[in-house]
């Protein structure tokens, strides 16, 4: 298949065949991860810059591992240790990176649209969005999709319940697009103050009662609750949140037996998820982490020209 995406900014321009192709590529990479020597020379001589303006350990390490397993040259450019802290604009940073010969830039930024912006400013490099504000986190969505696909096979006609702070979640926005495109029905629940204005437009149904959202769900996706949201007064207390929306064994009863439990991490035990569920047999949380490395390897490989060679 001819791969048509130079960048990975958002999944709204991806169709089902793009997603299907990436799933299959990820599976090949996943097999590599089982070998005693994981490194392959696929991106030898390519320069990948990890440009992180927000603190992130998981996403950055996952990208870095993927880049290293593919033998790319890797530079970690963290905003606090660079001139950005002294007020360089993103435009100047972009041009500097290109002048240094970056083939790909992975960007994590607190401002919505930062990855779009970077892609507009770069003439040759590929841009991978590692999360922009509350807008999009496409690689997380793809790794979630891959995790579910690996476990459940064809996802068409399945149902996902997503519980938590959808309003501030880039993970939710990207996951809803990705799972919808693969034919998964998504139902949301959480405090109404943490829901976006128009969940229908997003492609999901809002249920006030999480038990309704979970009814018949094949996948239960829990979103991280940021403590700041409670401090901002968007809901009264973490304890009250857990009582109504926290995933414990009792709530999980409402889903289809054996439903997958997913979470983008890091988890807040006792808030959005109880320890018994997080560590239980249905939990895919660590599987997601492994999938993340394979998926990112696949993305880097195909976007940097590997698949078309």
């Amino acid at each position: 298949m001819e791969w048509r995406h130079r960048h990975v900014i958002d999944l709204d321009t991806w169709d089902r065949s793009d997603l299907q192709f990436i799933m299959e590529q990820s599976r090949s990479m996943d097999e590599l991860l089982d070998r005693p020597i994981k490194k392959v020379p696929a991106l030898r001589g390519k320069l990948v810059v990890n440009l992180f303006f927000e603190a992130s350990t998981r996403t950055r390490v996952s990208f870095e591992l993927a880049e290293k397993f593919l033998s790319a040259d890797v530079v970690n450019w963290s905003a606090s240790g660079s001139s950005t802290g002294k007020g360089e604009t993103l435009r100047d940073t972009a041009w500097t990176l290109e002048a240094m010969g970056a083939d790909a830039v992975v960007i994590r930024h607190g401002a919505v649209g930062a990855a779009d912006y970077l892609a507009r400013k770069l003439r040759k490099s590929s841009v991978f969005n590692g999360g922009d504000g509350a807008h999009a986190h496409p690689t997380q969505a793809l790794l979630d999709l891959y995790t579910a696909w690996k476990k459940l096979g064809d996802l068409d006609g399945m149902k996902m319940a997503m519980i938590g702070d959808v309003l501030h979640s880039r993970v939710a926005r990207s996951d809803i697009i990705a799972f919808n495109r693969m034919g998964v029905k998504v139902e949301l629940s959480g405090p109404a103050t943490l829901m976006p204005r128009d969940t229908h437009a997003l492609g999901a149904e809002f249920r006030e009662d999480p038990r309704d959202a979970l009814k018949g769900a094949d996948i239960v996706y829990l979103l991280r609750i940021q403590r700041e949201r409670q401090e901002e007064g968007m809901f009264p207390s973490l304890d009250e949140y857990h009582q109504f929306f926290g995933a414990d064994d009792e709530l999980l009863e409402f889903a289809r037996p054996g439903a997958l439990v997913m979470h983008p991490g890091p988890i807040n035990r006792g808030v959005e998820i109880s320890s018994t569920v997080a560590d239980g047999a249905q939990s895919m949380i660590l599987g997601q982490v492994r999938s993340g490395v394979a998926l990112r390897m696949a993305l880097l490989f195909v976007c940097l020209g590997g698949a078309n060679q």
Binding site: A111, G133, H135
Partner: protein, 439 residues
């Protein structure tokens, strides 16, 4: 000096004349409105066949950034941009640095505007000292010095008691209060319309209730004091509805809408990949809000179209959306953007209705001594705007007189442009190409 404008389609501020009309200007004053005049009577003569001759256009709301932010715009560049955009009068906002809250600064604007060969610039003064929203600015002295509106624009007058006092106090001055309608607690941190745009982007949503709630408060205070109040850059259908019913009950409330809310919607923010050029306060709204503004024009709820021209330096706008400044620069294509949308909608009402929102509509909101603006009458100063409603042309910000170098319409082909602007009989703008062979 005798200038003759011949064979024009004349819009006199309220209606269109049926027959081609001539206007003779002698030393800056309209001497005669007639027909079939001999071109030999004048030193200079233009044939305006097929063009619409209107009272000079008035912009009740623009930001000229002077004093204090001249890297964005200044009174001279703004007044030249206004002339090129077909305006003869601009009202500049007082959210400068320092804010225009004293008679000295009012006089500064008036004096500096005299240095340029562009549009007349009239200052709006602050409602509150330092635009801080605490105590009344010297509105009486500013009115005497020539302030034509009072507003804390950029921010609402958030303290309801202060707004009430301002209405009561300014009543005898004959200078209207212009409120920037925004409930700040509802709009806090907001970036885009609370609807499709906030849903998809994850940016904090700006509910239309933030605007309508403040307008409702202003209407209550208008009813309470009996003093007129003007609401600027009204952006939503909900606000139009509230204003419509207030007007219906006979309250002296007026409002204006902007060219960008009339011609753009929140979808542009998403489809552009979150380009900061579309970031503005109040935000671009839904298609249905936009439709409501046009309905508000059709039924007379809207009194004026005002640009809210808000120029910034490229470096303040060419940033990721969330970091870009709020504001759209439009003076030089505002009229075209509105006419183009009117064409695109299949001319939903006669052109007169639209033209009155640039002329008699805004002049009725200004103090008495400016009531002659917005009309074409014998004996009045010749402030005139000539339109070619069929002319199609591409917007090119590189040619702008404004210091702004970024616009949502850059590169767009728009239909309907001002081609000549006269202030006190002086030609401050002429589109040479359009006037080839018309001399």
């Amino acid at each position: 000096m005798r200038t003759l404008l011949r064979n024009a389609i004349l819009f006199n501020g309220s209606s269109m004349e049926d027959d081609p009309t001539d206007i003779l200007i002698v030393d800056g004053t309209i001497e005669k409105i007639c027909s079939g005049t001999d071109a030999g009577q004048a030193d200079r003569s233009w044939d305006l066949c097929g063009l619409v001759l209107c009272p000079g256009f008035i912009d009740l709301h623009c930001h000229l950034r002077d004093p204090g932010q001249e890297w964005r715009e200044d009174i001279i560049s703004g007044s030249l941009a206004g002339a090129a955009g077909g305006y003869t009068t601009l009202v500049c906002m007082p959210n400068t640095d320092p804010p225009i809250d004293s008679p000295a600064l009012v006089r500064y604007v008036l004096e500096k505007s005299g240095y340029g060969k562009g549009t007349r610039v009239l200052p709006a003064g602050c409602v509150s000292k330092g635009r801080k929203g605490k105590t009344l600015a010297e509105m009486g002295k500013m009115a005497l010095a020539g302030a034509v509106l009072f507003t804390d624009d950029g921010s609402p007058v958030g303290d309801s008691n202060l707004l009430r006092l301002a209405l009561q106090y300014s009543s005898r001055l004959g200078v209207r209060i212009m409120e920037h309608p925004e409930d700040s607690s509802l709009a806090f941190g907001a970036q885009v319309n609370d609807g499709i745009c906030s849903t998809f982007s994850g940016l904090k949503g700006w509910p239309t209730a933030a605007e309508a709630a403040d307008i409702s408060r202003g209407i209550s205070l208008c009813r309470d004091t009996g003093v007129p109040i003007h609401f600027t850059h009204v952006s939503s259908g909900e606000s139009i509805e509230v204003l419509r019913s207030a007007k219906y009950s006979g309250l002296p409330v007026t409002c204006d809408v902007t060219p960008h809310h009339l011609s753009l919607a929140e979808g542009s923010v998403i489809s552009s990949g979150y380009d900061g050029v579309f970031k503005v306060n109040p935000p671009l709204r839904s298609i249905s809000d936009k439709d409501s503004l046009w309905e508000g024009i059709a039924d007379g709820t809207v009194d004026a179209i005002a640009t809210d021209h808000a120029p910034y330096h490229l470096d303040e706008k060419d940033l990721p959306f969330q970091e870009a400044s709020f504001g759209i620069a439009s003076l030089e294509c505002a009229v075209a953007a509105v006419l183009n949308e009117w064409h695109r909608r299949g001319k939903p009402f006669p052109m007169e209705r639209l033209l009155s929102l640039f002329t008699s509509g805004p002049s009725s909101i200004l103090p008495k001594e400016w009531k002659w603006l917005g009309k074409i009458e014998t004996g009045s100063p010749a402030d005139l705007t000539v339109l070619d409603p069929e002319l199609e042309r591409e917007v090119d910000v590189k040619t702008w007189k404004s210091k702004a170098r970024l616009s949502p319409w850059d590169g767009e082909r728009l239909k309907g442009w001002p081609v000549m602007t006269l202030v006190m009989g002086e030609t401050v703008h002429i589109d040479r190409e359009s006037f080839k062979g018309r001399g």
